[in-house]
Each structure stands twice: as C-alpha cells, then as structure tokens.
Subunit: 290 residues, 2 copies
C-alpha cells in the first residue's frame, strides 16, 4: 500500500501544483468572481479524476507530466458541478469537503456565477487545447460531451426527477452512468485518445469505475462518518433520492459493489502495460471511507 | 425601411429555421431537460446576435448561408445567460419576452440545469466547429472567451456588486462592456475572423454597438412599455442597479446614447463593402421600443 500511496501522492501533488499556478494566474474582475472560483477549486478534494488521467497516460505508455491543461479543465467542470449541486434549489448542502459550500461564503448569486465561470473557462481551455492537434481536440470534445446534456447534466436532471419516486434498476443505472460515470470515464478515455490506448475498453473501464464510485457514495451516505466525509450524511434518505440502497437494499448493495469492483479489475486486465496502480484505485474506491 | 426590414426578416427566418432544426434534433434524457432547453431557445427574441453575424459575413464578402453552427452556439450561450439571470437569486424575473421565465415553468433546479446544459452544448458545438479549420477554432475561442469570466460572466458579477452602490463612469463602462458588449461584439468579430474582415475594427464597432444596446436597455427600463418589452420594467431603480440613468441622469443619457450611435456609424464607415444594413441596425438599436 505504501507504494500505491506514494504514487497517488506524486500524481496528486503534481496536479495540485499545476492547479495552484492556474489559480494564481486567474485575475478576473470583479475580485469576488476570481475569489469564488479559487475558493472551490482549491478546497482540497482527492483529485481522483486528474490522478486517473495521469495514471492512464502512464498505463498507455505516455509521459504524464506533459498534459496539465485537460485535467485542469476537467477539475473546473467537476468543481462547477459541485457548486451548482450544493445550491439551495438543488441539493441544498451547507458543507463540502469540510468547508462551507460556495454559496454559504459568497451568496447564491455569486455561486451560480462562479459555476458558470468555471464551466466557461474550462471550455476556453479546451478550445485552446484543441488547437494543438486533432487528438487533443477529440479528447477535449469527449470531455465536454461527458459534461453536457448527454452526460453529467442529464444525470443531475434525472437525479432530481426521481426524488420521491421509485426508480427501476435501469433508471438507477442511467443516473449512475450520467451523474458520475461520464466524468470518471473522461480522464481514462482522454488518456487513451492522447496516448493511443484502447478507447473502447477505456470507456468501459471508466464507466464501471464511475458506477462503483457512485455505489460507494450512496453506501457512505448511509453508513459513513460525516466528520471523515466533510459533509452532512443521511441526506439521500431524507430527500428520498434514487440510490442503490433504496433500489436494492443495503445488503445487496454491498454485494453489487463487490461485483462492480470485480468487473473493473476484469476490464483492467484487458489492457497491456502496468495495471498495478489502477488496481489500487479500484480497491481504494471500493473500500473508501470518504 | 422596407428593404431593411426585409433583409432583417430574411436573416432572422434563416436562423429560426436552423435553430428549430437544432432543437428538433435535441433528444436528451430525461425529457424535462430537453424541454426546458427548447422552451427558452424557441421563446422568440429578436435574434439580434445571429442577424449581426450573418450581416457581418455579407459585409466582409462571405456567403452567410454556410455558417449556422456558430450563431446557434452563440444563441445557446445568450439563452443560458438569460435563464440564469432570471433566477430568484439573481434578477428574479417572472417574465421574459412575454412568457413565464424558465424557472417559473420548470422550477429553479431544472432552470439552473437548463442553463448549464445550454452552455455545455454550446461548448460541444464549438469544439466540433474547431475541427473544421484554424479560423473556425479562433472564432469559437473568441466567442467562449467573450462569454466567460473575462466577458459576460464578469459583467453579471459586476452588475450584482454595484447593486445599491454608486458606480463611477469607468465602472459603468466595465459593466456595459462585459455584460452586453462582448456578446454583441462576438458575432461581428467571428464574421471578421471567418471572412477575413478587419478584426480590430469589428471588435471596436461591436463593443460600441453593445454599449448602445445597454444604454437603450437601461433607458427602456425607465421609459419603456412593459407590454411591448414583455417583461417587468422599473426594476433597475427598484433594485438600485448601476445604470446609465443612475450614473448620468435621464437627459444626459439620451445625449450619450446619441453620441454612442454616431460613434457606431463612424466605425462602420471604416469598413469596405455595403454597410447600409448595419447602419439600419444601429438606428434600430438606438430607436427601439422593445
């Protein structure tokens, strides 16, 4: 585990440095706009998506240190989605990663704009990146499609729709695939596009890992420790959301999460190259306590 | 005026047909997501920005019928900005173009997502367009920068910031340039990039026209007819917003708007080609009653 931890930290710190540089160079006017963007971008988080991107680049034989723009755009998109998701009209969460959510610090109007700004600046980064070559443009496009109305936003919309209703297994799958799957798959697929990996299998593996991620997220909302999670728990049941626990029951959920993790490992095995670190990611996501 | 009107209608109807086709082909799941996007995209509006784009293409000697993707992306961005701007936490407007605003029909959470979806899908369109050639990528990038934290979002943020405060003339200029100017300049600049027009003068003219547009918008909020405008008026004063009327007083405002229109015409004169229609646009924006 020490070796896995070290490599995770290497990727994470490399990303953190690049993101900090990006944030330092932001200087939009008015100041509150820049500050509200920085606040959420730099509020910690495990940086799972950038780590997945770097690890996948290495799996496919590329030098991970050459590609910082795409993971920064991805993290901007992920961060905007959290800011909007936390709004009173959406999930109404006062805390995120142990800190007051964006709208608790800057007010609702500024939080809406901080999210809009992060999504727009991600698109700006992607359009610049698209000028490098066709591979970068394709990777950027995959990310934006994964974030949009055929991806993450669709998942958020479905999540709202099934509040207080009973979702079928197929409907839950749709929510998982879109709310979480697409943006977990994005870094793996982008790496495959850039480094010539198997794009189809990258997507399958990424989507399955996203599914696992949402399984454990739902499970943690029931059995987790809110101090470790840095947010209020038990909210899914309170809001009667469509979760795996509601659809399958707690016990069957744990079983399905194990199966999902096993499928991730199977899909990983189909890649050439050193899969040790990504196996560790699967284990981490299955057994995480935050 | 008949000839001007006819040409405006030709551009507008050409755009309306392309947009309708785009909307028909949207079929995101859940249905409410697609419906909420369509509702605001197809709620009328004068389509000033697309008309400006087509007219500028013709001014610079290009065939306007070949470029529908960029103006659709622009209108998606403009529409998202209106949906978010109408939200209770922002301007809290119940009506837009004579119809209930998006959040009055679909609820706040869905309206936030409809805006996010429109911005994302605009970015998707732009990243596809960027694959055509370098000119299209540059035009797409200009648009996204104009929409983002260095553009329209900055204007929205500054607009909030100066509510209830006294803005200087320089601060009002900043708000005008960003809230309105950038997305009015975008179609003119994009056309110049694509058709080899004078980009610098296109930007100067577009920014000045945007300034005029916001001048008359502020004036109409004081002296307009809410039935013609299709929205509640007198809101700027009620919310004590930074407007030209507040900064300069009504009378001086009319004078400055006239000067602004004259400057637009001067800048137009610096282009080669047939400027008749764009002169008509300047007159229309100066004398509009909605």
């Amino acid at each position: 585990m020490g070796k896995f931890q070290d490599r995770y930290e290497e990727y994470r710190q490399f990303f953190e440095a690049a993101l900090k540089k990006f944030c330092t160079e932001l200087d939009f006017r008015p100041n509150v706009l820049t500050e509200s963007m920085r606040y959420s971008l730099l509020s910690g988080g495990k940086r799972v998506r950038p780590v997945l991107f770097f690890a996948s680049l290495e799996l496919f034989g590329a030098d991970f240190r050459r590609e910082t723009v795409l993971p920064i755009a991805l993290e901007c998109i992920h961060t905007y989605s959290l800011i909007h998701d936390d709004l009173p009209a959406m999930d109404n969460d006062d805390f995120r990663r142990g800190n007051p959510s964006n709208h608790k610090v800057f007010g609702e109007a500024n939080a809406i704009l901080a999210g809009d700004a992060l999504l727009s600046e991600a698109a700006v980064l992607l359009l610049r990146e698209a000028g490098k070559d066709e591979k970068h443009r394709r990777a950027a496009l995959w990310l934006m499609e994964a974030a949009g109305a055929g991806g993450m936003v669709a998942g958020q919309s479905a999540d709202l729709l099934y509040m207080g209703k009973t979702a079928t297994e197929e409907e839950l799958d749709f929510i998982y695939a879109h709310k979480t799957g697409k943006l977990i798959a994005a870094p793996v697929v982008m790496a495959a596009i850039l480094a010539g990996g198997d794009e189809k299998n990258a997507e399958r593996f990424g989507m399955e890992l996203g599914r696992l991620f949402q399984f454990t997220d739902d499970l943690l909302d029931v059995k987790g420790d809110s101090a470790l999670m840095g947010k209020t728990l038990g909210k899914d049941a309170e809001e009667d959301k469509a979760t795996c626990v509601k659809v399958y029951g707690l016990e069957r959920c744990e079983l399905l999460a194990d199966r999902c993790a096993a499928k991730c490992l199977d899909l990983l095995d189909q890649f050439q190259g050193d899969k040790e670190f990504l196996r560790g990611i699967v284990d981490l996501v299955r057994s995480r306590d935050n």
